[in-house]
Symmetry: D2
Subunit: 151 residues, 4 copies
Amino acid sequence: MPAASTAGHLLKNFVKGMELYKLSKTFDAVLKTGNFVMAEPGKVHFEIEILKEHTNGLGGMHGGFVALLVDNITGAAITTLGKSKKPDIPFYSGVSVAMNLNYLSPGKLGETIIAKASVEKMGRTLVFTSCELVNKSDGKIIATGQHTKFL
Amino acid sequence: MPAASTAGHLLKNFVKGMELYKLSKTFDAVLKTGNFVMAEPGKVHFEIEILKEHTNGLGGMHGGFVALLVDNITGAAITTLGKSKKPDIPFYSGVSVAMNLNYLSPGKLGETIIAKASVEKMGRTLVFTSCELVNKSDGKIIATGQHTKFL
Amino acid sequence: MPAASTAGHLLKNFVKGMELYKLSKTFDAVLKTGNFVMAEPGKVHFEIEILKEHTNGLGGMHGGFVALLVDNITGAAITTLGKSKKPDIPFYSGVSVAMNLNYLSPGKLGETIIAKASVEKMGRTLVFTSCELVNKSDGKIIATGQHTKFL
Amino acid sequence: MPAASTAGHLLKNFVKGMELYKLSKTFDAVLKTGNFVMAEPGKVHFEIEILKEHTNGLGGMHGGFVALLVDNITGAAITTLGKSKKPDIPFYSGVSVAMNLNYLSPGKLGETIIAKASVEKMGRTLVFTSCELVNKSDGKIIATGQHTKFL
């Protein structure tokens, strides 16, 4: 299957997967207003506008929301490689071992940010991923993260 | 003022502060069902039951929720030292520089966890904190985190 | 065997193990002037004076030397639990997955520092450890670290 | 000055700077057998063969040596931006606040690795950098790191 078509196929899966976020009663529901805008093997991009419910008391993107994005979107990137050990659970990508976050610039209410996640190494038991959160309008890096999961 | 009384005074502040979480329309509202159970200079404990809205698709405590707890509760620990640069903003504790999270054991739906946060070093511009999340019933460590803020 | 005697036994092992550091032609040799001063199941303390060869261009303890200490001394703490998968290799404690370091205060040339390492969770495949580097004379925290290994 | 010429100029500085590593009695001397092979504003590449003195007891690249490389080479990347607060000290790039390391694959004795460091954000007081260590022969990622310094 050509890469372009694979990417299109993956993206369709994610569009469908978003329905799960929207209907979900779990913490994933926090991302229900966002959208996957790119998906290819090992990589996904997710776009979301910073709403009041994603901010801290200062009107900036909450550090915990940054973490939630890094956690979920790197997890989604893992699923593009099709090696799920629990194929019955949508978006299953293992359990977290560690996450590191660096906060470079504050994201602000009303801005649209893109979370760009990649799989750096898919091992037999561990998978290493990274994620960059950028401001859609000017490309400024808001935060970077690394997330390691146990498959 | 004797230490015990200081602790009692601080705790009362936090009980009041919880009202803000409860009424808040920001991401902090995620913590509205929890409670500060201890506060002394440099340290706070926060207790919360893992509800469905804090879980992931596997029924375990969401990694992003762990991060949110570490972020907010270490921030609260900073406020106990009374050096806020924005005293008009409740619970103001600077902006995040970095956060590291290690996930030791999964927290499960229905369990009560305690987030124990400490300030490790309060510098002139940077403050270093750490946090341990333990299961209330058996003391098992669920996650540990470090959070560095810029004052 | 009573705990005290276990600790004494472990410490003797480490004293012997130091001979390996002293004779070693590997990177471990950097620690040859230090000494294990405490060892009990899950915990070790290692003492070392900051010599010129451990400093950076500013006369302070080199950040890379801090990392080396955290790496080796947490590894030593793992060995106290006696679950080595390669018992023929002295001090074998698995391979590194991740390490986080926070630098709180500079260590200076001529100071003696103590690296205090603990095993936080020994799982079936992953082991989580932490380490605190303190100034021996005043107890000030110089750095903290977390180190995760794959057994 | 055109970018190409700037890069050439920077690289010449680093070649000269290597003399300092070679003559140094500090921990930096560990890197004396390596070489800067690329330097441009915000980025440097450093190449080094893994010698016995850089290994651990298993014959692999020592995790502490990985940390030393990330520490020094990201520091060197900072110096390319010419904002040193202590211009009299060669390679001065501030003091470390935090470092995160992820170990993806083991580097082995005799292999040549390239440490590729970049400045991600140069702020007024904090600078965020990242580094990737790759095997020169096949491009495999050995480790990734983030290093935050206080200027």
